[in-house]
Structure formats: C-alpha cells, structure tokens
Symmetry: C2
Subunit: 324 residues, 2 copies
C-alpha cells in the first residue's frame, strides 16, 4: 500500500512508477521535464482533445470503484479521437486530490488508468498534480490520423444512412443499477461493465476512416437524442430515426429500453452516416461489434423519430447536459 | 453583457465567439467537432504540457480580477513551452463554472484569455465545459520546436554558470499586495502586474535554444529554491548560488527582497545553465529583459547559497508546494 504524500514531487514519482517506461514510440520525452516531446508520423496529422472527469459530476466517489474512474477518464477522452477515425497515442493527466485519496484510492485509480492506457496503447506523457477539496481529473489525449482521412461531424449529406455501433442505453442502465446497489460492484453484469469500463471504438472508427465509408461521424457520449442533434446542426441537415430499429438492451420493458437507447448517455458508441451507394459495404457487425442502421439524414432540419404507427414526431434532445 | 447559460452548447458558442476564427496556421480544425486537428511543421516536434488553475488554490475569486485569471491560466501553461525553448501554437481549455460565473465573470475571463492568446499567437483549439461548484480551469498547450533544439532540465553539467531572466520575487510581492488590498486592483504597480499578468519568456527561450546557448533550462513557477533543486536532481548535479547577485525587487528591506527572490513563486522567469565557454555570449539583457548570472552548477549534490560573509550553507526548498 502506498504512503500518503507530503509533497508534489513524491506524488509525481508515484504516478510515474506506474507508467514506466515513460517514453514509447513517438513520445521522445515523457514525465519529469517542463513539457513532453512528441513526434507525429510523416504524412499524419495530430488530433487534440481534452475532457473533464469530476467527482460529483462525472463519477461518485462512494459509488464508483477507483479503478473504474482511472479507466473511464482516459477511455472517454480517447473516444473523441476514435470519433474522428484516429488513433490515440499519448495523454496528459491533470489530477487534483484531497489528502484522503492519495493512498489506496490513488493506487487503484492508477491501476485502472494503466490498464486503459495499455489496452489503448496510449502512453502517459505528462500533466499536473495538486491538492483539491474533491477529486478533479482533466485528461488531454493526443492522437494521429493520416492526412485527409479524418471524419468530421459536419459533413453528413441528405440521403445518407445513419448507423450506430453496439447497443444503446446499456451504460445508462449500468449507472441506474450502480445507484441502487449497496456493497460490492458486480463487474460481470454487462450493463455495469459498460458503464464502468467503456471501450472506445478505435478500431471501428479507423476502419471506417481508412476505407472512407463514413461521410460524418461522432461518438455518443451524452445520449443519441442530444448527440444526433449536434451532428445534424454541424452538418446543416436533419435526421429521422426509426424507433423500431434501435439496438436496445434486453431484459427490461420495451418502452424503457427504448427510452434508455434514445436518451441514455455514456455509451461511447460511434454514430456515423454512410452514403447510400456504400451501404452495402457496412457489415452487420465489425469484429463482433454490432452495426445497426437506425435511420437517415434528411434535408429538412431537426431530428424526428418514427414510431410503431409509422408516423414521425420531433425528438427533443433529452440526453445529459451539465447545465440543465 | 452576456446572458446566463442554460445549456452547454450555448456556452461553447459564447466561448467560440470570443476566439473566431477558430482555424489559424497549422490548426486545421478548431472548436465544434469531437477533436481538433493540428499539423506540426516538417522538421519540428510537438511539445505538450497541461496545467491546473483552480479557484482557491491558484487564484481567489474575490481577489483576482477575472481577466487576470483568463490571462494567467494560459500564460503559465505556455511558460512550460518557453522553458523547453519552444513556441506555443494552440491550446485546449477545460472550464467548469458555477452558475454565478457564467455572466460577467465569464465575459471578462474570456477577454483576458483572448488577450493572452493574441499576445502569444496561440489559438484556442478546443476543450470541455461543464458545471462546477467552484471555478476549475485546466489548460493544455501544444507547441513546437525544431528537432534537436529542445533544452531539457536534465542536461546541466558541473561548472556551468547559472542565469535567471528578469527580477525574482516580484510576483510574490504582488500577491502579498493583492491579499492586503481592498477595492480596485492597481494594475500599474509592477509587482501587481507581474502577479496578475505574467509574461512567459518565449522569445528568450527560443533565442537560447536556437543558438544552443543553454545546456539546461526550466521556468521558475514554484520559487527558485524549489525549482533549482528540481533542475539539479534531474541533472544529477548540485548548485551554489550567490545571494548577493540575485536580481531582487527594490523598495523593500534587503533581507525581505532576498527571501522573496529565493522562495517566491509565480515569476515565470527562465532559469538556465550555460557552459563557461559560452558565457561571453550571454548579454546583460535580451530585448530589455535583464539576464543575471546567479551562481554555478557543482558536481557535489544539493543546492547551497553563498551569503555575505563568503560562506555557503544548504538552501532548503521553501517554494510553493500544494501538498505542504
């Protein structure tokens, strides 16, 4: 078990110990200097993204296992790189900790973070540590993509077909189970696992980008209804989705599963648009990850949903928004 | 005056409005997509750094003008790039705000931030916004440096001469004035200005790196006694500094000025080592910024200080540490 830290340098040392060796591949200089040095491959561009992960907003210290906090803070930031079709390479970790979290909590947090870093092949390049009243995490991920291969949010065209990966609403279901539960977390429950240890769809995103199969793409972090509206706004188009086609969870009432799929956040699945001419190239699953056609892009603005009766109605953005 | 925000998308829009146009130079895609796209110049490497700037730890909302918070959160992160000899290019802003800071406070904050971004020619590339109980800021700066020109902390050699830029202890003096003061901040006081609006020494750092004049370099953020010990530890050397040579502030008792220079933080001046053969190439000032030789690197470990009597004694690290 780790000792509590009396100074910042010791804390940095403990973090570094978990991540040695600091250098890898194109990361020429890691933790320990004023800044890190990183070299993008020739013919590639650098992708930059940064995400909050805050106690009370994004996780609950009394509910979420610390290794899940470590895993998820990196996974969700890396998901933004996947959403462009890119590959995460290294990350910066800003960590503010109250004294009581510098012992066992930190050790377990770092284990989860290291596991995610290994799984994503994304190395720790640096960051900043300080004392905080609550646990505050900010993660910046640096990725790369071959020039001209990036898939944006803003390039969907009317007539494109809309797809999602995986099952929607699963992470929200996991969160609800977690909130109700007392005692040890059941990591074997698929919904719980998806909420605690989401897997950014890096391989799928890269495959779609390399083959130029997607006209537009983003990751689903705040819920389909909120995120699809963002994609449509950026692309200056609308969309209609078919409620009956959504890949929903099983084992709960159909209406509830539908609501979770439409408004539930934190799935980190990919939402992407495909021109009709390329639809035949999209398989039913990619490396065991289900791909589902859920609707299409329309010229008329706004997001609509097609119900059982075959009539469409407007779909209000009902996903997660920290300011609501 | 800005309206308070009801949702995150509007807040992002307001931030973006302050920074248009989002693209510039090598930043090909700015705010609004999942991530930003940035292209490093051929023959250059990317420098990565990330810093906290937290209410209560790094600034006091009741004391620090919001435009100073905006200026300083970027300036201090950019200082890490200067400390490698590099040039800041773009940055990611993670911002968590309580409701009461989304109006006038935010507007003034963004003005200060924009002014720093303009002065540093460093553009906003993206980031994340959320609601917070206190104002939380995390800034990642992306810079670049020509391959092989970077100046590290870990490469000082015994016999090298030690230099600092500017005047030491000035920012700490400014902080003390600010703490005591009631009412409007006197921005004309040089110490106050240095505390509120520090200027990273980008041009000096670049000049030293391009001409290969410095064997090792870092920026002074936590105070000379703390930071010099870090440089020595990284380089596996020691140092002796001459108390009588330190560039101190005037207008206060000599002993007090000395203590401020040795332990005061937040100056963001550069500390650098120069091999004796190149000492003649270091001018007394660079573009009106004073350069002072304050001591030298020794083979024997530890940092010592030479007093008036010509006797040296160990100098304990007494600078700022959030965990102390």
């Amino acid at each position: 078990m780790m000792k509590h830290f009396r100074d910042e340098d010791k804390l940095v040392k403990e973090i570094t110990r978990h991540f040695l060796p600091g250098k890898q591949g194109e990361l020429r200089l890691g933790i320990g200097d004023d800044a890190a040095l990183w070299r993008c491959q020739p013919g590639f561009e650098t992708i930059l993204t940064s995400d909050w992960f805050l106690e009370g907003s994004h996780f609950l210290v009394e509910k979420h296992p610390p290794d899940s906090v470590g895993w998820k803070c990196l996974a969700r930031a890396a998901s933004d790189i996947a959403a462009m079709g890119g590959t995460p390479r290294c990350f910066l970790l800003n960590l503010a900790l109250p004294d009581e979290a510098t012992g066992k909590w930190l050790e377990s947090f770092l284990k989860g973070l290291r596991r995610a870093a290994k799984s994503l092949d994304c190395v720790l390049a640096g960051g900043d540590t300080t004392r905080g009243r609550r646990i505050l995490i900010s993660v910046s991920v640096i990725g790369e993509i071959r020039e001209g291969q990036e898939v944006l949010r803003s390039t969907a065209q009317p007539g494109d077909l809309l797809y999602v990966s995986g099952i929607l609403g699963e992470a929200e279901r996991g969160l609800r189970l977690l909130r109700k539960q007392r005692g040890t977390v059941n990591r074997k429950n698929p919904a719980m696992r998806k909420h605690l240890y989401p897997e950014p769809r890096v391989e799928l995103g890269r495959w779609l980008a390399e083959r130029k199969l997607a006209t537009a793409m983003m990751d689903l972090s705040d819920g389909l209804s909120t995120d699809l509206a963002r994609l449509c706004k950026a692309s200056k188009v609308g969309a209609v989705i078919d409620a009956g086609r959504l890949p929903v969870i099983s084992g709960v009432a159909a209406d509830f599963a539908g609501q979770l799929a439409i408004h539930g956040g934190d799935d980190y699945e990919l939402l992407f648009a495909v021109s009709p001419g390329k639809a035949a190239l999209i398989p039913a699953s990619y490396r065991e990850l289900r791909l589902t056609r859920i609707g299409e892009i329309t010229r008329s603005r706004g997001v609509r949903i097609l119900g059982k009766a075959g009539k469409s109605k407007p779909l209000p953005a009902g996903g997660w928004d920290p300011f609501r």
